[in-house]
C-alpha cells in the first residue's frame, strides 16, 4: 500500500528507511571495531600540509555560499555568460522572448504538426 510501482521498478519508502537505519546501525557497529589508540589533542589530529605550518583561520571566517562552486561556475563560464545575458533585466527583451517563443510554436504547430 505504501509503495509505488512504475511497472519497471518499484519504490517502497518504508522498506528503504528501515534498510537505511539498518545500514546505519551496521556502520556504527563496524566503527566500534576501530582503533582505540587514537589520541585526541595530540599531533595526530592536526592537518598535515606538506610539513608546513597550518595557517590560523582569522576569527569569524565563513566560507560563504558563493565560494562553494567557484570552480564549476568558472569552468562553465562560456555557458553562464550567454545565459546571464538572456536575463538582462530589460522588459523589452522579455517581451521579445515571448514573441519569439510564440513564433517558434506557430512554426512547429502549423507547419510540422
Amino acid at each position: 500500500m505504501n509503495g509505488i510501482t512504475s511497472g519497471f521498478g518499484t519504490w517502497n519508502p518504508i522498506a528503504w528507511t528501515l534498510l537505511f537505519i539498518g545500514i546505519l546501525i551496521v556502520a556504527f557497529f563496524v566503527r566500534s571495531f576501530g582503533r582505540k589508540d587514537y589520541k585526541r589533542n595530540t599531533g595526530q589530529t592536526k592537518a598535515f600540509l606538506s610539513g608546513n605550518e597550518e595557517p590560523d583561520a582569522p576569527a569569524g571566517l565563513h566560507v560563504s555560499g558563493d565560494n562553494l562552486y567557484w570552480g564549476m561556475v568558472h569552468g562553465l563560464s562560456a555557458y553562464y555568460k550567454r545565459v546571464r545575458k538572456w536575463h538582462s533585466g530589460d522588459l523589452s527583451d522579455y517581451v521579445a522572448w515571448f514573441i519569439g517563443g510564440l513564433a517558434l510554436i506557430f512554426v512547429i504547430i502549423v507547419w510540422v504538426g
Binding site: 546571464r84 538582462s88 533585466g89 530589460d90 522588459l91 517581451v95 514573441i99
Partner: protein, 116 residues
C-alpha cells in the same frame, strides 16, 4: 454597407503596433500605451466576431420587430475585457509612478536592478 475584412485588418494592425511599442519604445508610459493598444486590437476583434451585416444592437427595448440583431455574447466579452483592462492599466500606471519615485527615471533600459 459591407465593411468586409477591414476591421480585422485594423485589429491585427493594432496588435502589431502594440507589440512594436512594447519592443522598441523606452518610456514606461509608452509601454502602458502599447499594452492598451494590444488590448484595443483584441477587443475590436471580439466585437467584430459578433457582427452581422445590417444588424442592430441586441436590445429588445423599443427594438423594431423583425430586424436582424448582432450577437450579444462578444459584446459581453468585450465589456468584461475592457473592465479588466481598466484595472490593469491603473495598476501599471501606479507602478510607473512608484518606479519614478524610486529610480528617478522612466527609461525601461535603465530599470534593470533585477537581472541575472
Amino acid at each position: 454597407m459591407n465593411v468586409g475584412n477591414l476591421p480585422f485588418i485594423v485589429s491585427a494592425l493594432l496588435v502589431v503596433l502594440g507589440i512594436y511599442t512594447l519592443l522598441f519604445k523606452r518610456n514606461l508610459i509608452k509601454l502602458v500605451i502599447g499594452v492598451s493598444l494590444i488590448e484595443t486590437g483584441v477587443n475590436l476583434f471580439l466585437v467584430m466576431l459578433g457582427y452581422r451585416s445590417e444588424g442592430i444592437a441586441p436590445i429588445y427595448t423599443f427594438a423594431p420587430a423583425g430586424e436582424r440583431m448582432v450577437l450579444p455574447t462578444p459584446q459581453a466579452l468585450t465589456l468584461t475585457s475592457i473592465v479588466i483592462g481598466l484595472a490593469t492599466t491603473a495598476l501599471l500606471l501606479s507602478f510607473a509612478v512608484f518606479i519614478w519615485r524610486h529610480y528617478g527615471t522612466l527609461d525601461v533600459h535603465k530599470i534593470k536592478e533585477l537581472k541575472g
